[in-house]
Each structure stands twice: as C-alpha cells, then as structure tokens.
Symmetry: D2
Subunit: 370 residues, 4 copies
C-alpha cells in the first residue's frame, strides 16, 4: 500500500445516477488536496475516461483547479459526467462469434491509473460503485469512498447527500397537489423514486401530510386503502393524497408491473398507474396521477446536502493524509467516521417497519396499506 | 337589468380547472364588497351549490367574511371548490328509457340566485365558464366575469392569472433537468400542459434554455428534430432538453396519441411518449421523459398572479358599483379594462407563429420541429 | 407522579422565540393524543393563557381538534402564540412602593393546570423554557419537553427543528449576494442570528461559499481578515462574501457594540456594522451590509424540520403513554431518545473549534479571522 | 449613421446597479448577433473597459461566444461587471491645483469604439445609462438601448426586467414575516428599495397582505397609521405588517433621515428606523424592523424577467438589422416596440396615486398613511 508521503496526485470518480451534492464533494476534495500541494484530476463519465479513450478526443481526465471548482457547490449533477451504462467489471462486448459477453476491464483501468501516475482514488458513488472501487483498492490503489444515494438506502452511514434535496422536492410537490386535489375533490396519486427502499416516499409523505403511503417494504392491499379512504370521505374530507414508491407492490404480488421488469435498470412509473387502476372501482372520486421521476434528481442541493458533501470531501482528503485507505467516510452525526469498504454491505438499508419514523406515521393516522 | 343602487348581496363562482390566484380574486371581491356594505356568498363547486342541494348537507353557499378570506391570497386552488364534471347547460341525466341525456339546468340555478336574493354574480373562469355566466346575464342577473386560465389561451386580455405560476414552475423544472441530463449525456423530454395552445411550453422552453420546443400550433417533423440534435451533438454538446406541449403533433398528424382522444377531457401524457419513441431510433443518446401534469396547476401564486388576481377582484366590484354588467375585466397593461362578455370569443388565443416571442426563440437558435 | 392510566387531558405550551416546525410538533402531539382518546388543549402565548386571564376574553386555552391541526404542518410560527416578555418565574410587577419587582407566579400556573384538569404538559421550547417546565415537573405535573432552537445551541440533542430552515434561508441569501457582489466588485457583509453560538453562520457560510466567517466562538482580528481578503483580490478575485454572526467580536473585545448590551434580550444588528466600519480603511473595495434578522425565523419549515418536529411530537405522546415524564425527547440519529430534563444543561452547545465542520471550513480555505 | 450592411462587430455595455435578467439580455444579444455572422464583445464594468485600460491587464473587452453565454440565463448579476462609481461624462479627476474636478471622457470612449472597430452598441441600463448611450449615438455610433430597472421607474416601457424578481423576493419575505409577527403579537416593519418611486413596496405590500404601505409618492402621517393600527388591534388582529419604501417620508417632511442625504448615491436604511421610532410611542405592541436592501437585487431571474430580457436582447439585434438606431426597445404587451432614445425622458415613472393598483390597495383596506 502506498504511503501518504508518496501522494502527489489523486483522481476523483463519480459513478451511477447523479445526485445533488456531487459537485460539492468534488469541490471540497479538490481544494483540500490542492491546499496540500497535491494534483487533482477528475475521471470523465465514471471510469470511461480511463479505458474508453476513443470517447474523449480531449482526454478522459479533467485537470481540477481552484478555478474549475470555485462556483460549483450549488450546481446539480456532476461536472465529471457519469454513466449507468456498462459496469467495467462486467462490460458488455461483442465476442468473436458475435454474441455479447461481459468482460472484466478493471486491469485496463488500473493501467490507466498507473499511466497517469494517480496515487489514490476518491470514489463517489452508491453501493455498486463503492464495491467496484474496492476492487481497485485490492489491486493496490489506495481508495477512499464517499457514499452517494438519493434513495437513502446505504448501510453504514446514517445519512448521505442527495436524499435531503430529493425529499425536499418531493414534499414541495405534495404541497402543490393539496390545493388542486381539494378544489376538485380528487384523489391524487404521486409516484416517487424508490425501487427497493421507501425512504423518499415515507419522509415526504409524512412531511407533506399524505393520507396514504405505499412503500416496497410493506406490500399493500388495495381494499384496505379503499376502506381507509372511504371512511375519510364519509368523515367529511373531500380529497386525498396517496404517495406511492415506484417499487411498491400489492400483497397478491405477482401482478406488479415493476416486478416483471426487475432486471432492467430503468424506472418505469408503473406503480402509480397500477394502483390507481385497482383503486378506481372501489372509490367514488376521480383519481389523477403524477410521476416525479427525474425531477427528484435535479436541482441545486439543499444546505444540508451541500454541507454533508463538503464535509465528506474534506474528510476524504484528511483520511488519505492520515494514511487511511480502503475506507468510506460516513456520517454518524455530529461526526464523520471511517468505515472499512469491506464492511460496506451489499444489503440495502430498507425502512425498518418499527422505526421511529414509521411509528410517527402510524401515530398520525397515515395508512400504509397493510 | 338591476341597478347598482339595489345591490345588497353578491355571489362568487369558480369554475373549471383550478388556477393559482383564484383565492386572491375571491379575497379582493369579498373585501371590496364588504367595505361597500354588501353581503358576499361563495357558491360551492362551480354552480353545484345552487342546483345539487343533496351534495351539501351544510348548504351549497359559503358566507364570505373578512375572517374567511384574510389569509387566502397565498393559497393555491379555490376555497369554494370547483368541478369539471357536468356543465349545467348540458347536464348528463338518466332519461326515462335509461339512456343518458343532456339537460339544461340553468333555470334551476337562476331560481337558486333568486331564492338566495343574489343581486349580482362574479364569475371567475375560462372561456366555457364565462359563456355560461353570460347565459345568466341574458336571463337577467348582472354578471361580471373574471378571466382565468393557466394556459394563457384567452382572447381579449393580454394576460391573466395562473399562467405566470405555471410557467414559473415549468421553467424551474427545466432548470432541474439540465444538470442531470448533462451528467448522463441524455435527451430529456418534458411534457407540459397545453392541449391546443403552446404558451406554457414556449415561454418556459425559452426561459429554461430548451434546445427544442414542440407546440400544437407548429406540427413537427421528427426527422427535422433529429437532424438538429445530431448536429448539436457533433458540435460538442452532450445532452439536450426537449419541451413538448401535450397537444403537440407530428406533421403526418394521424398518429398522434392525443388526437385520437380529443373528445375526452383528460390529459393523457402521450405527446412526450410518442415523440420519444419516434426520436429514439434516430439518435445515439438515451432519452428520458418527464410529465409535469398536475404539478403545473398547484402551488402558491407568484407575485404577478397574486397582484393581477387582486386587481381583477377589486375592479370587478368597482365595475358593478359603477353600474356595469355583462362585462369581463381584462388586463391591458398597465390598466384594467372592461370587455363585453358577448365579445369574449369562443376562439382561443393561439401562439401566432410570427409573434415576438417566437422570433426570439428562432433568434436564439431553438428548433420548433418545422 | 401521575400514572399513564390516569391521563385524560394534556396541555401544550410553546415558549420563547418562534421557530419553523412548532406547528408540526403541535399537530403530531394533538393527533397522537386524540387517537389515544385523550383531550388536548393549547396554552396561549407561553403560559400567559393560564395566569393572565384578563388578556384572553375568549379564554386562555385553545381546544385542539383534528380540524384545528390538520393543515398546520407547513405553517411557520405557532398557532398558540408565544411571548418573550415576562418569565413567569421572575415576572415583573409593580411593588407597593412603586418599584418593579420580580415575582414567582409558578403556583398560579400550577393552579391553572389543576383547575383545567390538565394531567400532563408537553413543553416545546429552548433551554429557558425547558428549565421552567422542569419546575412544574418538580411540583407534580408530568412534563415531556421538546427541544426548540433555530440557533442549534441546545446540548443533549444532535439536532432539533427550526435550525435547518434558518440555515437554508441564510444560504439562499448568500447565494443571492454572490452575483451582485461580483458585478459590483464589492465586499458584502451578511449578518446572521447567533448571539452566543455561530452555528447558523458557520453552516450557511460554508454551504454558501463565503470567503470569511466570523463567529462568537472565535474572536477575530480585522487585520487578519483584511490581509486575507487583499491577498484574494491580488490573486484575481474581485469580490468577497463575509458572514458575521451577530455575536461575533473582535479580539480587542471591549469595543464590541453587542457586548455592551449583553443584558438586553433584543438583537442589535451591530456586528456587521462594526466590522464593516473597521474593515473599510484596510481594503480598496466598497463594502455593503445586509442583516437577515427576523427573516431567519419565518417561512415554511423545510422537510427536515417538519419531519423532526412530527417525530418529536409523536414520540412525546408515546413517552407519556409508556409512563415517562420529566424527560426531553432528543434526536440521536436515526433514533429519538429520552433525556432527563435535569440533565438538559444550562450550558449552550457552542461550535467546538476543532469539530469536523470547522475543519472542513479550514480545509476549504475559509478565513475565521483568527 | 452607419448602415446595417456595414455591421460586422457590436459591443454590449451594462451600467448602473445590477438587475436579474442582465445576463439573459447579454445571451440573446450575443446569440442573435453571432447567428447573423457578427462579432460580439462585452465592455467590462460599464465603460471602464474602454477608457480605464490600467484596470484590466487582460483587456477591457470580453469576446462573447456561444460557449460564453450558453448557460447564463439563470444567473443574477452581469458577467461583464458594472459600476456605479464614476459617470464618464462627469468623471472625477484630480485637477492641477489638487481639487477634484469632473471631466467628460466620452471622446476617449468613442475613440475606444473606433479603435476596436465597434460598429454599434447595445446599451443596457436605466435612465442615466441610456442618456449616456444617447451621447454616443449623437457622436455617430449606432446605439440600441435596453431598459433596465429593478425599481420599475422607467417611463416609455410598461415593464422591464429585474422588477418582477425583486418584487417576488419582497413578497416572499413578507410572507415569511407574517407567522413570526403573529406568534409574537408584533408590528413588523419591512423596508424595501425605492428611493423615489414606491413600486416594489406597493406591489409586494398588496401581494403580501401588508396592513400599511408607505411610499415616497404619498407623504405619511404617523398618527394616521397609529390610529389605523390601533383600530385593527381593537378589532382583534394581534399583529401588523408595515411595508416602507426607503424613500418614504412623513408629512412634516424635514425630519426624514433619507431626505437629508439625497445627494448621496447609497441606500441608507433609515426610513424603517425613523418610522418605527416615531410609531413606537403610539402603539402598545413591540415593533421590529427588517431591511431587505441588497437581497432584492440578487438571485436568479424569474421566468417573466428571463423572457422579457431574452425578448429585448433579440429585438435589439433585429432592430439593428432593420437599420434602426438611436432607439430603446420597450415592452408594450404583448409586443416589443421601439422608442426614440431622445424621448426616454429624464422623469421617473412614479406611482400615480389614482392608478388601478392603488385603487386595489384602497379597496382592500390597506392604509397608505394619508
């Protein structure tokens, strides 16, 4: 393992879906490193900049300077670009006989690191990206991971960046729908991102005063929801807001539109549609659906997300300076801890059905469809 | 026609789709009238409060006081409720032989006005609602109309409320999508409301730096758009934003998903989907779609919409006091004018293809698909 | 101590400065309690509703129902009202000889609780309010405290509500000032709330890319700041943003405008003015000041603040049901814990000068004036 | 006068205080001109870039390309910089005997235009900047003016950019203060920009449900305001919002803090302070003040401001191409007109005391202090 004393140049990688706060991490990493006399480069589009040179006539690495990063904290997305096509450990290529095979190209990437004299890598990403970064660590490159997820589904860190911005926009959207739903005496169904974990739906639904919240962790019975809503309508309320995670599924299970497509990486928007279709015969109100989709990823990061991102970025460089590697920085409020990359589990952080936030939802009389 | 001197009590009606600013009109009408010693009532859910008494056990009219309206300016929707099911001039009822027939129930509503001693009506609505109000004017009830449309498609008023809020949210949404589109090198297609007129798409698309804007007024050729985008990509831009009005249609015309359903009142979200499907084979980028839908109707009105609404409401009462009726208040900046309800045409205000805003779009190099 | 089994009616109190999220706590407490069959009342304006009956012709208690609280989550302020005039333990009254004396009126308040058959109190407030509530606990009324502070200066809870909203607005305001400062080549000094602790300034300053942050915990030397800025200007930057906590003080100390007034409860806005006056002779740029003041307290709570508030409110009722009292609910992410009110120290939570966030600020090259 | 056919290169100037939308004008001018095959340069800091070369080691002109302007629509400020120190027609310089004299340096600027082969100027500014631009027109350089003012005080254009953003932020700030004022039973006084014209105060005060609005056009009597407020408090309202333009003055006149300083160009923040001080003895509520100041200039332009800016920029180039010069583009909704620069009066557009918006304010029961 390289010693700190030998660090002269580091690389930053952003992988997977973009999340508000990525640029703030890049800024903090860059300035913290430059202030220590290190050079910093950003790898374009995941690791593509290192092993797919033909895509980048101007070079696959971006030299990061004070000037490059000084104004990027408030910007959504990542100035390095990202990709979710083509995991380099299982990269799809055409074989000799014309079929598509998956090829491990990590050695080419390692060669790229060596060729560019990169002494350490700051890898910013979700579960998958961090596992990939750990491969490079095992092959000899010091790596510090920075957790990223708008879905809040990463273990080993209490919170990370991207999620607060997404939940904020989700709540604001629910706020917008209340008055129009009430004016028209409608049921408004809002679909949120969250294929496996229901955090965005749960937090925004509670904060936005939803009547019903359906999350992947709790299979729902449409009849339970209909009974709940009809009782509300009898009690005088003339409208309802239903929040549905894209991965929510009914108890009978097999009918979920989402489930059939589990192999695909794209978000489908089918959960709201299916639920609305099943609910309509059971209630005497118009139902309308809204799918927030990609709007949840965009926008300027909230202050919370900016600050966590900047703290993570600065902590990553301090960790490296202190001689650490093979670790991920993690928020354990109010401090930032280090967690071995090996322990960054492949399991997701699902909503525990008896967690404090779930209890709050039940205390507030919100229906979870069970 | 009733004279001003005889006005003791007025009614307010809100009809059709809700729009941010409705409550501000209600507030200004109410306070202006109360300050003149008049009584004010609001009719619940369009005119339902007057002719469908069974729906309202507590009465179909809401007594409007200073207390009722003091804090409602910033609220979206309408505190009176609205409906777009059942035009009272063609109200669907079951006939003796079991078929559904359309019945004119305007005389029942007129009876309701008389029974409740209503001396004049402030009708807030779009083209259809104002035509309906004109029927009551013809039958002897003094009416002042207030124009409402989030689509900006009403003739005879340069602007009205609701539109600025909708365009503002649309632009903010486009802003959010730039960074995520750029990070992923994607084409992002955003569908806006606007079945017949493209104002929301045009104004938000230009303000939000869209590359392509497709509106109902200009049938598009997907090949023209593809050529335009591919040239951009060759020039180095790695992503694109395409704004599509829900009523946008391709030149070949007959394939539009929307068109087939023209009779239905519901918004379908098919325009973005169809366009994306047709475009995908012609470009080498991922395409993702977002449909803003009902989010465009909600939310707190912008300052512009609040002010126009309050000015309209106050002007309506001044008009009534001055002895006017059978007119609509209209914005002819910087003044508020009166326009005869008879002249409030049934034609929509489409985007003129040579208007200043269109010219601006072309000067900026935006593609309109033609 | 009263047993849970005997709880039939509880009271809610909001004391001290208002903070976004108070209404969400009130909502969660109310609904959680009503759902358990308990009655809920709110005390008007701190404890005034209980011992100053003459102020409230309609009664000093508000009966809280589902209807009262259903839409209040997004509202700033407190529907109960609050006061920061007149601590009931040291209430200023005119003595027989005409001088003003401080009188302990807690027994009158206890009598008020008994008279109104209040079985337990949910006290929402800062350090002072919670100490006061603890007095009632000692006198026999079961109390659950809920921590409130926009300044983030409460020990024993990692975070509480109000702060995220305040910091969010502060950051947004700094964002607004960058472009105007840059266009005019100016130094912009922004004063934030924070008389004793610099959390708002620190977090918003880092998130908003301030150049200099001055907080009460770190006395500053204006010459250090001037040297720092002049070096930046020589390096090519043409403007600067300086964030100043209202309690920031220069190293020479005695000259602080604020300090002289330490006994008064009012915020003075003198810190920015003093700093700007001292800095102006040392730099060759125009300086302009902005004081955020009361704007930081207002507005709809962020999602984070809404959720923490709702969780605290629901947890307070669960705690009571479980037989707890004399405790404060506290956020120890991701869980809500109980802390004895006796341990809720009278010490504030100052910014530790070596905390992770301070290190981040230094890593980013921000000047703290020391 | 130069003919269109001879235009090969144009310059853009931004002068005076910055306003949201300046960058959108720059973008539209630049792209519209580049698309016609013209070159475009921006003059740095007003006209400084042309006659104070020592300030700009890298040159006083910025070459504007597609790349420079593509992402600037949402940015506040001006990428060219601006200045309000030193009108070049009366530029302060040290005379031979050591006194400061005002020197006309317009010929040096004209020489700069010639030296850089500038064929026409797009001058974006307020009344003063446009008068200055007209001097260059008279001296032979074709000029198109674009009106800019956040104060809405320009004659000859119904609206221009910057104002909608400023009023929007002002209204949002008033919104924030309602809940905190109500919670504490306070009078909150908010001071807005507007030294001579009260548009920002009037429009935001009405939209934000202020109780009292004090503008320069209507001298106020503090006793009238006190009587008005005390009547409100007797009627049950427990708080009030007072909006004060910085140029508001009391009827006795001579006591206004602002008035004494009329010669200075800086904003003073004295109007709210003076009013609060005079009001306090007359009411039995705490009064708190907030000064919005420079926050009103900052931030991303609203959609309205973006669109007007883009339309103005594109129209300016079309005007030039059509052979016009010596004119200002002006908004006469829904069209953009041309107005001779000679007619752009030196008089300001004050609030007419009987305009529709004032009538609305009076109809709503708002007190104007008269």
């Amino acid at each position: 393992m390289k010693k700190v004393s030998s660090i002269k140049k580091i690389a930053i990688n952003t992988g997977g879906g973009d999340a508000p706060g990525l640029n703030a991490v890049i800024k903090a990493v860059t300035i913290s490193a430059l202030n220590r006399g290190w050079e910093v480069v950003g790898i374009r589009e995941g690791y593509n900049g290192l092993f797919l040179p033909e895509k980048f006539p101007d070079g696959g690495l971006i030299n990061l300077t004070y000037e490059t990063v000084k104004d990027i904290t408030p910007l959504g997305g990542t100035i390095l670009g990202t990709t979710n096509r083509g995991n380099p450990l299982r990269f799809p290529m055409k074989s000799a006989n014309g079929t598509i095979v998956e090829v491990d190209r990590s050695d080419e990437i390692m060669a790229g690191f060596r060729r560019n004299k990169i002494d350490a890598l700051i890898a910013i990403g979700g579960d998958g990206s961090l596992s990939m970064a750990n491969v490079f660590q095992k092959k000899g490159l010091p790596v510090i991971g920075v957790p990223k997820t708008i879905d809040n589904d990463l273990e080993k860190t209490v919170m990370t960046f991207g999620f607060d911005t997404a939940v904020g926009f989700a709540t604001e959207s629910i706020d917008r729908l209340h008055s129009t739903a009430q004016s028209h005496s409608r049921i408004m169904v809002v679909e949120m991102m969250g294929r496996y974990a229901g955090w965005i739906s749960l937090n925004s639904g509670i904060s936005g005063s939803a009547d019903v919240i359906l999350i992947p962790e709790i299979p729902y019975d449409v009849n339970v929801v209909a009974d709940f809503l009809n009782k509300k309508f009898e009690g005088g309320k003339n409208y309802a807001i239903v929040v549905v995670a894209e991965g929510a599924k009914s108890k009978e299970g097999s009918t979920s539109v989402i489930e059939k497509e589990a192999g695909k990486s794209e978000r489908l928007g089918g959960a709201a549609e299916k639920f609305a279709k099943d609910l309509q015969p059971l209630v005497d109100k118009e139902i309308r659906s809204v799918i927030l989709g990609h709007l949840l990823r965009g926008g300027s990061p909230t202050t919370f997300d900016r600050l966590v991102s900047l703290r993570f970025g600065a902590a990553a460089i301090r960790a490296l300076e202190e001689g650490h590697s093979g670790i991920m920085v993690a928020l354990n409020p109010p401090t930032v801890d280090y967690v071995p990359l090996d322990q960054v589990s492949n399991r997701m952080k699902f909503v525990p059905i008896d967690c404090d936030t779930m209890k709050t939802g039940r205390d507030l009389g919100i229906c979870f469809g069970d």
